[in-house]
Symmetry: C2
Subunit: 372 residues, 2 copies
């Protein structure tokens, strides 16, 4: 056993412009540090109810079953899939980056037969291509698609998709990790049946929770299950009592109390700014950054780029790790490297939530001009 | 969409003496609120390494694979079971309360055939009873047992158990949610192969993480798996690169950065106090509370009581919910009701970490004298 004293905690105040986490504002950090309540304390239950309502508001949904999963965004993905899929079910998944691939892996671990449709990284899917896949695999129970591919910066248009998927009797499941609170996202209007996100992206809350929402159609599917959900921790049939209050507030697991405080505060900030204003701000900041990056010789990889995550190819001769290292060590600015097939060839620059400001963009562009 | 403003966050400063969370000291809340770093930031990686080393120290183990699971204690249970059990494996589980029962449920969801041995709630298992079960089910791959049953307050003696379990070629898996940092717990000396705990009990950190540790024997078992772990989020074969640094710090999921700050701080506090001193304090406080409760007519349910959780039968005529409600609303003191078969008949009074003080005990006993 070591008896060495642990050094004092003193994290540097980085500007976080990578693929997440984004910079957390002081107001959310203060909420995080409020006194811890018990998870069955009536006051905490009120805060949890507020949080669930704010999740509904941010997703633009009336779905009763909207709540924060007690894990990060990937736990949200697993919650959706493990609860909606039973062994031997078929599912369609659209893969154009890392996270579509992870959906496939998750589906297979739940025993599903997966029909993957793929386009090159950085591209997005047309409704025609999806309609074709749906027609080809009529027994699929679910179609999974990524709204905002954090690995490529591609922005998937979801309009008109639900009709295709629902007409075939399937559920529409969506990854919105990098879009919630930064891009237009209308769960009810777009007919999304199951959706998950993360707290550390456009909500600018620390990582640790995953806001999810399920439609009535998804609830029916879960009620008809013949097998138990393979994950105890993520089993919605047990979780829903605690989050919706139906049948009392049965204890399942201890909710991450202080993280709920922070998420509630971050969603309150989103609503104070107003969803439309916030989305407009992300768009405006994206255009500003884009102009600066293109002036420096960077080119955007996706045709349909996210505003919240800017994935750009490096100009010839740029030292990927070297320059990112200098941005971090000399300027306290974090940006992200490429993931998967883009490793070493692309950067991912986040403009999410509290990080999406003119000040940060100017600071980054000036630093880049210095070091390149 | 609601446009009502969210009320300011203002949680009451409760004295938390229930089954968890315990009261979180200001120093840990301050650590929680430190500026958020990226999960691949070299400074954060150092903090994570510190945290893993402190987890080893607290568990008194040299196990390399010791890390905080990104979920609460129940996610730790699922991590242990999902990684060590494959479909059609047999397992033995010792049930003397809620959490042994949950182990069984988790094992079954992983496809195991479960042999449960049971004693009445509040009692503990003799090594003879366990040896008999091991002999009866020689094909079992694992024996699961709860060190500190949070539902009954029973304290399971684990000495001598590993020999029985290992001689039969099985792994020993232990629930230490309510004992880590409050009771003697010697993972290496006691031959424990897999163990999980929670942050919100005797570490007095907010809930949200689960410190786990795996022995080399457990690692070998995982390396020999023929099937993928059914949970992507909790798959140790992918997680271990990030936490141990072997094969680079591959991105798996975004670690809950600020919760790691808080856990690191809470474990540093444990080590500053010293494990032996801390355990002695929990014992001393338990004896003090016990004397006071017995004077008031309460009787301890388990023969082998935990120091950290005091499960007592209510004297005749005591209004369970009414008095607990008054303690909370008039005195800002939280204690826990009975769980499962003890609902309405017992209280669970926690003396964990920062909550285990003479001041809190006197305050609680005085309040109880007032309201009873």
């Amino acid at each position: 056993m070591s008896n060495r004293p642990t050094s004092p905690l003193n994290p540097r105040e980085r500007i976080l412009m990578g693929p997440g986490p984004s910079t957390v504002p002081a107001r959310i950090l203060r909420a995080l540090a409020a006194p811890t309540l018990g998870h069955l304390d009536p006051q905490f239950i009120e805060y949890m109810d507020d949080t669930c309502q704010l999740i509904r508001d941010a997703y633009q949904t009336k779905n009763l079953l909207s709540f924060p999963v007690s894990g990060t965004g990937m736990a949200g993905m697993e919650t959706i899939i493990a609860n909606l899929i039973e062994p031997a079910d078929e599912a369609i998944v659209c893969i154009n980056g890392v996270f579509g691939g992870r959906m496939k892996d998750n589906l297979q671990r739940c025993g599903a037969t997966v029909h993957a449709i793929e386009v090159p990284w950085g591209e997005t899917f047309s409704n025609e291509a999806i309609a074709e896949a749906v027609e080809k695999h009529p027994n699929a129970k679910m179609l999974g698609i990524v709204h905002a591919e954090t690995s490529t910066g591609a922005h998937q248009d979801l309009s008109g998709l639900a009709e295709i998927v629902h007409d075939a009797g399937m559920l529409l499941a969506v990854d919105a990790v990098t879009s919630l609170g930064g891009h237009e996202l209308k769960v009810d209007e777009w007919g999304i049946d199951a959706i998950y996100s993360g707290t550390q992206k456009c909500l600018s809350c620390p990582p640790g929770l995953s806001p999810v929402s399920f439609s009535d159609r998804a609830l029916e599917r879960m009620d008809q299950r013949k097998t138990k959900v393979q994950s105890w921790y993520l089993d919605v049939s047990m979780l829903k009592n605690y989050y919706t209050g139906s049948g009392g507030r049965a204890y399942h697991h201890t909710a991450p109390i202080n993280m709920i405080y922070a998420l509630r505060e971050s969603l309150a900030i989103v609503m104070e700014e107003g969803l439309e204003n916030r989305i407009a701000r992300h768009r405006e900041m994206h255009l500003l950054l884009r102009e600066g990056l293109e002036d420096l010789g960077f080119t955007y990889i996706p045709k349909q780029s996210l505003c919240t995550l800017n994935c750009v190819a490096l100009p010839d001769g740029v030292d990927d790790a070297g320059i990112r290292g200098r941005l971090l060590s000399e300027y306290d600015i974090e940006i992200g490297g490429g993931l998967g097939v883009f490793a070493g060839k692309a950067w991912r620059i986040g403009l999410m939530g509290h990080s999406a400001t003119k000040r940060n963009i100017n600071t980054l562009l000036a630093a880049l001009s210095d070091v390149m």
